[in-house]
Amino acid sequence: MSKKVSLMLSIVVALFGIIFVSVYGKLPENLYPKIYMKELYFQDQYVDEVSKNGNKIIYFDVSQDNLSINLYNMVAYAPLDTTDITISFSVDKPEMATITRTGMLTIGEAQWRKFVVIEVTIKSMDGSELSDKVMIVNQNQKDNNHEIYDGDDWII
């Protein structure tokens, strides 16, 4: 073993130590200082339209490409200076769209029907939750609003 190997080993052990302590040595989360999330929303710049029912709609031209967007970039929340939250995304039609752990939403052209509803949820350490929804609509369906609905809340 040489000195270089030792240096590499030390750095690896240090990284391992940080991961190990953050997983097994952290304080139970119920003992964390309380952090209350104040707001969470899909940012206006990404929203094309807000329906009369107050639903946020993003139109997407399916004929151009498959839809693949990063949902993390679209969300804003406050307070921003905390890491004591867990963000999760869900989709109402999992057979139609997939969301990876990194927040990438993918819908293949063949799978497009009318729209999908994406919900983002933030859980704070104190157990409180905030959520927001956005509807991603096939551009071709823009003029057929009467056909777009999915449950009572989402009739445009």
Binding site: M1, S6, A14, I18, V21, S22, G25, K26, T102
Partner: protein
């Protein structure tokens, strides 16, 4: 010409290879062993990457491959530049090779061929398994695998030829710095300041509180953004991955070939003409000798005389200082970053014990790796050692003088690390100083142990002949023992402190003290018996 280059290359390769094959069968066996090792590494990397992809949702794609490729190759260019500057211009074999009936240009080309083969060999053990694993995991076609082999042949050209070009200014800078050691010291100081500045900037971006699991998605996103922006600096390595992933193959290949030809032409017209001029000049006259009038001083105690000599030997060459103590210089930096990350985690009592344990472990591994000075202290005296022993005084005192230097330097850096630890506030002040005491005691034991290795098995003749410490068994043994001591103390710290904090610390300090006394007694006994017996 080609025949002469081939002979010169084979001569240099013969001196390098460890497993020499004398027959055809041995060559086949060596090749088979190599293929087996590469296959094993490929399987291991494939499994690790597959696991990362499936369980951690970590992207294994073209962008990440480009990032891995250019980072590894930039490191390759850096190491090639440094190694070529010594291999081309100040290698010991230059005196022999340049005296052969061959042109200096042929020696130059043969050295580049040897460097190319060395780089190719390195790539076989790392990049080939990575390429293969990426291809399998992404379900790439046949072209990917064929082109990756072609790229493996292309790749070493860049670090070798760019290294040959950059080694010329580096050589001039080296000579300049040798002439002005103060400038060298200022340069190193600037590098250290820049390093600390970089560390401070890095540390500032660590979020508090640090919750790695909750932040996982954010980390992956950040990493991908970083990779995408870093790949803009990937230069021609982007062409390589484009070719492998069948993106504009013709155009990318054309650019790649043009760049290779350009670099080769530059080397041919810039480096080669300067080679003989630079290689035939030694550093002998780089430093002007000064004649000082020395006052005749009364005789000093042997220990003090040896100590003065050791201090002069240790600090007279800044290159040697950096080479010997680089790792320990990095220790405060590594421990500081680690502790800042720890301080950002809201830890339980067990977590606090773990932090102490990891500090002890990492600190000991780093500090003990520097004790190779003690593990080679007698060996580096080489042929002069027997002359030293003939002095009409207690020459065994030289051992204590050498040891004292090692103890003083390593204790100073352990102290500096303790200060950095207390600044980071990951551990309390009391615990910081107890960690310092534990590491210092264990380190002293390890120095005694390492020194004992060299006293019982000095390699004076090897060193006198080669002037190198490569493959010295005492060095390897010393580093391994250091790792073992670090592991034992690290694990013991976590267990004992978790049981009872106060009693745990008493036990740890007692164990460190007991180890020190034990090693000291053994060392003194070995010194008495073996020092007299050491012969060239």
């Amino acid at each position: 010409m080609f025949e002469r280059i081939k002979i010169l290359t084979l001569l240099q390769l013969g001196g390098k290879s460890r497993r020499r094959a004398h027959t055809k069968n041995q060559t086949i066996v060596n090749c088979l062993i190599k293929a087996l090792i590469i296959s094993a590494i490929t399987v291991a990397i494939y499994m690790v990457l597959g696991l990362i992809k499936s369980t951690l949702s970590f992207p294994i794609n073209k962008s990440v491959l480009t990032f891995l490729l250019f980072v590894s190759q930039y490191i390759g260019i850096l190491t090639c530049t440094v190694s070529l500057s010594s291999v081309l211009y100040s290698s010991r074999d230059n005196a022999i090779l340049l005296s052969y009936p061959a042109k200096p240009n042929e020696v130059f080309v043969s050295k580049l061929v040897v460097a190319y083969l060395g780089e190719f060999n390195k790539n076989l053990y790392f990049l080939f398994p990575v390429f293969f694993s990426f291809g399998l995991l992404n379900g790439c076609g046949v072209w990917y695998f064929i082109s990756s082999i072609i790229m493996l042949l292309f790749m070493p050209i860049f670090p070798v030829f760019i290294g040959a070009l950059l080694s010329i200014p580096l050589q001039y800078i080296k000579k300049l710095l040798n002439r002005f050691p103060i400038a060298y010291a200022i340069l190193i100081l600037l590098v250290v300041v820049a390093l600390f500045w970089g560390v401070a900037a890095f540390v500032a971006i660590i979020p508090k509180p640090l919750r790695l699991l909750a932040m996982y998605n954010r980390f992956i996103n950040g990493f991908l953004t970083f990779v995408a922006s870093a790949n803009q600096f990937g230069l021609f390595y982007n062409f390589m991955t484009n070719i492998m992933y069948s993106v504009n193959i013709g155009l990318n290949l054309l650019w790649l070939v043009l760049i290779v030809v350009g670099i080769m032409l530059l080397t041919n017209y810039v480096s080669m003409p300067l080679y003989f001029n630079l290689a035939s000049r030694s550093n002998e006259h780089a430093v002007k000798s000064k004649t000082k009038k020395i006052k005749i001083q009364p005789a000093r105690p042997t220990l003090l005389a040896f100590l003065t000599k050791e201090v002069k030997l240790t600090f007279r060459n800044i290159n040697k200082v950096m080479n010997d103590y680089f790792l320990i210089l990095m220790m405060p930096v590594v421990l500081y970053i680690m502790n800042v990350a720890f301080s950002a985690i809201v830890v339980s009592r067990l977590g606090q014990c773990m932090i102490t344990g990891f500090n002890v472990l990492v600190g000991m591994v780093m500090v003990t790796a520097c004790n190779t000075q003690s593990a080679t202290a007698i060996t580096v005296e080489g042929g002069e050692f027997v002359l030293l022993k003939t002095a009409p005084s207690k020459t065994s005192n030289m051992v204590w003088a050498k040891m004292l230097i090692n103890v003083a330097i390593s204790t100073f850096f352990i102290f500096a690390s303790a200060i950095m630890m207390s600044v980071s506030q990951a551990v309390t002040i009391q615990h910081t100083w107890l960690i310092f005491l534990t590491i210092a005691l264990a380190n002293f034991s390890h120095i005694l142990w390492s020194f004992q290795l060299d006293i019982t098995n000095p390699r004076l003749r090897d060193y006198a002949e080669s002037g190198k410490l490569d493959g010295n068994p005492n060095v390897n043994k010393s580093v391994r023992i250091g790792l073992l001591i670090g592991l034992v103390f690290g694990i013991f710290s976590i267990i004992l402190l978790n049981e009872n904090m106060t009693i745990g610390w008493v036990k740890i300090i007692c164990i460190a003290l007991a180890l020190l006394i034990f090693r000291l007694l053994l060392f003194v006994k070995n010194l008495k018996v073996f020092f007299k017996r050491i012969e060239y």
